[in-house]
């Protein structure tokens, strides 16, 4: 198992290194002068020259690359072109919001999607099963930005309720924090929830027809125990796989959800950086998403290894 984890960590390191290289190239392939683009059309030539110097764009490309990588290793990715603060500081301020949003969404998706999928399989072709199947396919298809917008509208129109805007730390006011995150996290979780419900139903239908489940029943075990102890663990493996595959959509979704619900996370910072042409901040944010994505994937892969011994010994 340890070797398997080390292998996944090494993969993660090479992937992040590759993304860092791509991100380095990103602002160097921009058509035109990046300094002039960042400062706008009416910027004086001296300011453009100073920014080129600050970004190190006058140096040879290999020198720029080495200093970028050294900076990355030291946690120094330069100053934001707009706020003139270290971009890493901006990320440090904003990442808890994105982390909490993604985490709650994941938990909600698994906590609701898995049991309803399993129950739908147990009650195959009953009304509950039909409802779950329709809702699951709707959940997969509805785009987050529409569901987010519509949930705000209908809550306001029907219940005269609007979720409080902004971000309050959970340690300062837990209730307000939950109020701020519950709706956005639910909306963000919908796609994963639908996918998990659909797949856990399909896998469970397959698993409950296996010989070992029949044997467990023949031994006289209660149905609940057969499902939970014998079937569920094997049905979980494909569910973990789809969780890993959908993480990208979840993280991309944080950009949309943070913008709709005015949550000051890294997703919103990324959209701001794009509109303000703050390329230093954009580079750092893309790296953050890659790093977060790789970490989550490694976590999912390790879970996969824990659940399925064939994976860790391959």
């Amino acid at each position: 198992m340890r070797q398997y984890v080390i292998r996944r960590l090494l993969w993660g390191l090479t992937a992040v290194f590759g993304v860092a290289t791509l991100v380095f190239l990103l602002i160097r392939v921009i058509p035109g002068d990046v300094a002039a683009l960042a400062l706008g059309d009416d910027a004086p030539p001296e300011a453009i020259a100073a920014l080129r110097e600050e970004l190190g764009l006058n140096k040879p490309i290999y020198e720029q690359y080495v200093s970028w990588m050294v900076g990355l290793a030291q946690g120094d990715l330069g100053l934001s072109l707009r706020k003139r603060e270290p971009v890493v500081q901006q990320l440090a301020d904003r990442w808890p919001v994105t982390f909490e949003l993604a985490l709650i969404s994941l938990v909600v998706a698994v906590a609701i999607g898995l049991p309803i999928g399993v129950l739908a399989a147990v009650k195959q072709d009953k009304p509950f099963d039909h409802v779950v199947r329709v809702l699951a396919i709707l959940g997969i298809g509805i785009p987050e930005f529409w569901l987010g917008t519509m949930s705000i509208v209908f809550l306001a129109l029907w219940f005269h309720y609007s979720p409080p805007l902004g971000f309050t730390e959970i340690t300062v006011d837990p209730l307000r924090n939950i109020q701020q995150f519950m709706l956005p996290a639910l909306v963000l979780a919908t796609h994963q929830l639908g996918g998990i419900a659909r797949l856990s139903r399909a896998t469970m239908l397959e698993v409950i027809r296996q010989d070992y489940v029949r044997t467990a029943r023949a031994k006289g075990l209660l149905e609940g125990r057969v499902i939970v102890q014998h079937a569920l663990k094997n049905a979980m493996i494909p569910v973990i796989t789809i969780l890993g595959l959908q993480l990208g959509r979840l993280l991309g979704g944080t950009v949309i959800i943070e913008n709709i619900f005015s949550l000051p996370g890294v997703g919103r910072l990324t959209a701001e950086a794009i509109f303000q042409r703050d390329y230093s901040q954009l580079q750092a944010n893309i790296l953050f998403f890659a790093f977060f994505f790789v970490l989550l994937n490694i976590f999912v892969d390790v879970m996969y290894g824990v659940m399925d011994p064939r994976i860790r010994f391959k």
């Binding site: 090479t14 785009p143 529409w146 917008t149 129109l157 993280l251 998403f289 890659a290």
Partner: protein
């Protein structure tokens, strides 16, 4: 006789001599939900393609109706804050969304498929390792974040949005086609072609590629929903095809959000169309996968 019957079985009936209409009808009967999805998508595509005829008003013409007008007989989906007809804007917006998604899926998955075949063909060499590493790197970035970054660098325009979405679709195409190409490469006809002197490119393009067609169609159909979602998400964030051209995502973010509580139709109609199209592509993709994948057909 029994063998002939066995060969004729199967939704596409590849070995039978039925006309394509009969085979299509048989496939539709086998996958009715997929057939409904195909009809809905075909309807949206035809109505959008014929927008100059089907759209009741010019989508850019101001004040063809009242500002923020509710749905009526004259304006079925209502009007926006500038008095433009929403139904016409949705129909014209469909042209952009459908074009962007179709073109970017074919470009992205096409490049992915070529790289996948090359990677399998040169298995174990530096070319294979480089392609695999690049795929790993690109897979380490969420699709929307990657698309946003590309548009941020190149600027928002129709071509750049297509380029950005195509780029994000390459890595998954490489993975799927590489694994199919690896199994194709083990066939004796590849050795036979090599023995009669076929070069690398001839082998890849004429012998390996045609045998990767079924998984290629599966990944194409499975990615159309992703591409539509990416395009509408970019437009929603203001990074899609720039105004005044109508886009489905853009209609939701501009007036759609400003007036969402007082004029709900402005955000409701475009969102519903996006949802139907994404759902349609997902359902159709599933049906095609079930039909074309021999393991699932059993």
């Amino acid at each position: 006789m029994a063998q002939e019957q066995a060969l004729a079985i199967g939704p596409l009936g590849t070995a039978s001599h039925d006309s394509w209409v009969v085979r299509l009808r048989r496939t539709a009967a086998h996958k009715p939900v997929g057939a409904v999805a195909a009809i809905v998508l075909l309807f949206v595509a035809v109505v959008s393609a014929l927008a100059p005829i089907t759209a009741p008003y010019d989508p850019l013409e101001l004040a063809v109706g009242p500002s923020v007008g509710a749905p009526s007989m004259r304006h079925w989906f209502g009007t926006d804050e500038l008095g433009r007809d929403l139904l016409s804007r949705i129909i014209w917006g469909g042209q952009i969304s459908m074009t962007v998604s179709l073109v970017s899926v074919f470009i992205g998955k096409g490049i992915g498929a070529l790289l996948g075949i090359m990677s399998a063909f040169y298995q174990g060499t530096i070319i294979d390792k480089a392609i695999q590493w690049l795929t790993d790197v690109l897979l380490a970035l969420p699709v929307l974040v990657m698309a946003m970054a590309v548009v941020a660098v190149l600027g928002a325009s129709l071509i750049n949005v297509i380029g950005a979405i195509s780029f994000t679709l390459i890595p998954s195409g490489v993975r799927v086609i590489r694994s199919q190409a690896l199994s194709v490469m083990r066939n004796q006809y590849i050795d036979g072609a090599r023995a009669v002197g076929a070069g690398d490119w001839r082998l890849m393009l004429l012998h390996v590629m045609p045998n990767c067609f079924a998984p290629f169609i599966i990944i194409i159909s499975g990615s159309l929903g992703t591409a539509i979602l990416a395009e509408t998400s970019l437009s929603f964030l203001g990074l899609g095809v720039p105004p005044p051209f109508p886009t489905w995502g853009g209609m939701l973010s501009g007036g759609g959000r400003t007036y969402m509580t007082t004029a709900i139709w402005m955000a409701f109609a475009p969102g519903l169309v996006i949802t139907f199209v994404i759902l349609g592509f997902n359902v159709l993709g599933d049906a095609l996968r079930d039909t074309l994948d021999p393991r699932l057909r059993q």
